[in-house]
Amino acid sequence: MFTKAKHKALFLGAVVILLVLFPWITGNPYFLRIGISMFIYTPLALGVALLARSGQLTFAQYAFLGIGSYTVAIITTRFGWNWWLCLPLAGVVGGIMAVIVGYPALRIKGPYFAILTFGVNEILRLVITEWESLTGGSRGIGNIPPPSPLGGWQFGSMRSYYHLGLGLMLVSSLIVYLVHKSHFGLTLASTGQADTLSESVGVNVRAYKLKTFVAISVLAAVMGGFFAPLQQYISPLDFQIWESFTLVVFCVVGGMSSFVGPIYGILVLTIIPVVLQYVPGYDPVLEPLFYGTLVLLIVILYPGGIAVFLQGLGGRKINRT
């Protein structure tokens, strides 16, 4: 959309300022909660898109969200730890699980890998459900305390979660962006375009995929650590396969050829159902119809997603994948 770097930076700055001020523009906790949902979706979907550059599509992001959530939930409710210490711990646990899962899984490519990640999600759900002594099983964990006050900030209100979520979203999105733009990101993309060619010039393809998989899983787990006190009560039902699937839909609808693509997907697919509620005579039962029709239209008319559509409007050539 914007070609000059300075214009881009200004636009971004304006958006961030607007986002920060949003709770004072409308104090409606319902809207704030929707915003928070988008803050959670963003680094998760950006992670899916990043790994997709290597040709691996993951449906396991919500599993790692769940790992992070349960880590924080268990440690704050059972051991009374300070949430701020639990958050990095959630990331560490997520990272370890990502290595255990990723090391064998990333040897497999294409649709088989995607199916395998479905399995990961399900296995995790089952483990959580069965390991009652640790996780409370299908009853879940409740009374998760909000983050303890930090530097004068109190947490517990929807507005405080909104800003905390915004901060986490900005930091994790920045990390994914830096990886995407870096030399590491270029090399990762080479493995997705022509993996044997890439390997033939010395690229350790598996290592690149594994490092990326661990990174995005750690970010997902950290967001999970935020998700737990936000929800106050979590159970295996919060981390179903459908949610991971939704992330992929965001990426497909928004487009993965540019970094911001998934964000367009999140915006469109989150805001439309909300807007539709204000249309007179609209029955929420129709929501899947609109959702599905939009996805179908995008896939048929603009397989590259909204990002490609916008770039076409600007008349710019699509450069790097």
């Binding site: 830096l178 030399h183 590491f184 090399t187 375009q193 010395g202």
Partner: protein, 257 residues
Amino acid sequence: MPLVEATGISKFFGGLAALSQVDVHIDKGELVGLIGPNGAGKSTLVNVLSGYYGPTSGKILLDGVDVTGKKLHEVARKGIVRSFQQSFIFKEFTVLENAIIGHHIFERPGFFEGLFYTAGYRRKETEYAKKAEEVLEFAGLAPYKSEKAGGLPYGYQRLLGIAIAVSADPKVLLLDEPVAGMNPQEIRQTLELVRQVRQERQLGILLIEHNVRAIMEHCQRIIVLNFGKKIAEGTPQQVGTDRAVIDAYLGEETHAS
């Protein structure tokens, strides 16, 4: 001591012997031709030498070091790089980016490097771009450096594929039908690149080609495979008059690629 010494290479796929007790050696600065009818095992041999396949039996020594069974990227780091006939460039990248990836062994970007956008990191990036440009100059592709690789004419795409392999600064280059599908101008540019690189860096090069005349003209030594076995080896003179070689090609359509 030869640069590459492969002895007793056999490769079985189930019961099928794609290669059977093949011995190959390549000396520094040597251009060795590899010919044989379709299905003779030429590409399989290149796959084994480069580490894409592990041999069922046999040993591969590079500069006296055993590289048998090492994976593709490990063998590349040790110094054996191959070119490809399919998927030979990164189509979505610019020509320059293609050459930068080719130089990967000397770059090895870490995950965290790019996160902390230090001055040292930016210096490295400029250096890599410069090195990549040098290879493109060598190959005659510098004018196209900012273009998307997939947009180049086919012959130049193949040339870029070879430039990528050259970027990896190998000791040994395995070229799989490098000039197939090229027009005479592109063939000339490619052979010139290969000749220059071989002269300046004293690479050992193994060249698979169906264009027998080109092989005869440029190679010092030729190895002939048929049905996975080596049936002849020698100078173009010797191989051209070898009974077994002529028999192998009789009944085969001799096509000039």
